[in-house]
Amino acid sequence: MTKRRIEPILWLLFSGGGVVAAVFLPILILLFGLAIPLGLVQPDYNHLHAVVSYWLTRLVLLGLIVLMLFHAAHRLRYTLHDGLQLKRLDKPIEVLTYGAALVGSVATLLIVLTV
């Protein structure tokens, strides 16, 4: 009987998050982080609101953000673990990183439900 472990599940979330970050983030940062704030393009607000509040967009955004949060949490956890090299900080680091991802995920759920 194969043992059940949480670590492989966290790794799957990390991998999924890595894929969506790699594919979606470049254009999202270009568009919403740079082009729109700098005024290079100006999408109509009502159109944006319509797109974001569409049920499929809500679902996709939720999925993307949750995966990206867990991707970052997992990678940062290992980086801190390897960088700080203090065994007694291992548990606090895990709680901090995955905890923050969990809190962010709940917040994202609330945001996409009420947009």
Binding site: V23, L25, G33, P37, I65, A72
Partner: protein
């Protein structure tokens, strides 16, 4: 005679600065900070869109301030590093099989009612897609997704 003492080589806390490959690895890992940053940025932006046009405009004014623009430029650089390294490593990390692969019989350990035994099964062999093709198709996917999002937002 007592056992001679082996010497434990110490590992420097700055081990990641010793080789260029180690340094690039740590940079790659730190890109996750900016993935988290932009995930939160998106969360706040979606929230602002939900609260009405004025709050969206306020958000974009804040996003247009020099500090935030600078952070997002750096974030974009790190995210591109993430994308390039992630795509490059995919063919190494997983086997993508094309039409040339086929199934052959093999043995596999299974549990039946808690007892371990071997059973016949099939595995897929051969037909591995060359690395270049795997990497190229990911970039195609990136282009398609990017084009779609631009169309979706700016039409």
């Amino acid at each position: 005679m007592s056992a001679p003492t082996t010497y434990r080589q110490p590992l420097s806390r700055l081990w990641w600065l010793k080789k260029r490959t180690y340094f690039m690895f740590v940079l790659r890992e730190l890109s996750s900070i900016f993935v988290a940053w932009f995930a939160v940025f998106l969360m706040i932006m979606i929230f602002a869109i939900g609260r009405g046009e004025e709050s969206y405009r306020n958000f974009m004014n804040w996003a247009g301030s020099p500090v935030v623009i600078l952070i997002n430029v750096v974030a974009l650089a790190f995210v591109i590093l993430h994308t390039v390294t992630w795509f490059a490593l995919t063919p190494q990390a997983m086997v993508v099989r094309g039409p040339g692969s086929r199934q052959v019989p093999a043995m596999k350990e299974v549990s039946v009612a808690g007892r371990r035994m071997t059973a016949a099964t099939v595995v897929r062999v051969g037909g591995r897609m060359p690395a270049g093709l795997v990497i190229a198709s990911q970039y195609v996917g990136l282009a398609v997704v990017s084009a779609f999002i631009v169309w979706l937002v700016l039409r």
